[in-house]
Symmetry: C2
Subunit: 307 residues, 2 copies
Amino acid sequence: MSLIVVGTMAFDAIETPFGKINQIVGGSGVYAAYTASYFVNPVQQISIVGDDFPQEEMEELRKRGVHLDGVEIIKDKKSFFWSGRYHEDMNTRDTLITDLNVLADFDPKVPDSYQGAEFLMLGNLMPKLQLNVIQEMKERPKLIAMDTMNFWMDTAMNDLKIVLRYIDLLVVNDAEARQLTNHFSLVKAAKAIMQMGPKYLIIKKGEHGALLFHGDEVFFAPALPLEEVFDPTGAGDTFAGGFMGHMAKTKDLSFENMKRGIIVGSAMASFCVEKFGPTRLKEITKPDIDKRIQQFKELVNFDIELV
Amino acid sequence: MSLIVVGTMAFDAIETPFGKINQIVGGSGVYAAYTASYFVNPVQQISIVGDDFPQEEMEELRKRGVHLDGVEIIKDKKSFFWSGRYHEDMNTRDTLITDLNVLADFDPKVPDSYQGAEFLMLGNLMPKLQLNVIQEMKERPKLIAMDTMNFWMDTAMNDLKIVLRYIDLLVVNDAEARQLTNHFSLVKAAKAIMQMGPKYLIIKKGEHGALLFHGDEVFFAPALPLEEVFDPTGAGDTFAGGFMGHMAKTKDLSFENMKRGIIVGSAMASFCVEKFGPTRLKEITKPDIDKRIQQFKELVNFDIELV
């Protein structure tokens, strides 16, 4: 079993009400790979970095079973840099700086050694590039999931709608689901999106949890109520990495098993927000994860007799 | 078993993106009584109306086992009137008109026939009046729940904090929990509120569900994802009525049973929002309620093996 993760590997500068950090490793691919590596081996990474990206980080990822054959390293160029500030309401943030650097030339290729992967996670990226990756796969993966964002809806909606026809699962947040469909009701938006291609849809609602849709079925997973959300950066990518890690580990594409995947993703995201960047994702152990999943059970579990 | 409900009985004018109604019966007591009457009998209503309040509505309530001995009818005066407008985001609304009318002179009394009630729901009201009702009870009810709102935090915070010492359960929304404690984190706010008196706390988050806190325990109930929220007026009062109705029916004050109460309240609220005012609350049947509760089970139920 293997999972291909396409995403950024980058540097972030982050400011939250609880603190500030001027440089920390980040990027959707980094969060997703660290997370998925708890569940599936190998994670086959596709990304691009400059020669400033730390060797120790690469080594750390390798140690956890993340393959880096698909990570291009560009000489004399800088890695993607993002800087943002969160306010008290951690659901919104201001982007202060976006330096694309190497990302401007990203043209993701699937290395031969990755062919045959059964699970593919397409991180948020220009839709055309996401489509390229799908088309480079000689054998269609069992499950293709993708993330996207409002920027591509504004600038490349047609391309985006084409990619949607080729994927199984779309992962977006509530605002993106609304923008994509012009429906305010998330239930209506979900129906409209599933008619655009993906049979499955996850709508992330940040601190308000996540919804999974498939046909007429719907499942809701809460976010864990936390005393403090220290830094929400990467929580969405961590969620996706946990979900796809679970799916690749279990190879069971039933709706029931996707529910479990959503809970795993939510549990992993609840760790991610506890410290700056992906710090917590490198510290936790399998028993920590099990304990957290147990907390989710207790949080929503109820038993009621219908009379 | 009996449940006292203290709340308003009123007329509302409501405008939503889906329609407009110039006059419909409303008020926290009306929503809570109709809802609770599905679970407990009698519901003992304490309220005040003008002589314009429809006899047929009184008759309808009586038919459902709602006692009206505690409802004062004031000659030649008008019932409380509220008018509001909802925008696309149904979580926020503009109040257009508030005509207190008879409510300005409301001084709720507990009729002798209500003495001995084991459950007491204090709807949103001037805190001093809520305290009066508690003090009029010759025997302390087993469970005293109360609702309140930002207006009383702005104008009568000291009185409010006194009442909090006398109750078991506070029901507020997320903004109110934050305002009451100056904590943005709902977990921190919950801890602070439970130190003010109530052992139990419910924080309502509208379309994002509700949280129940007790000591270190927490339970989360989602709102049902609906295609359309037609009119959210009264959903919070319906939720409280469903919760207290379930508690009074079962007389089991355990945390486990409160979880069930929250689900019952959420299910009832999901009916409430389907039509203008309390219309739906008069139409539904016990099988409708059971079916809806089953939908909540399916919405959050998952089974995961920890390895």
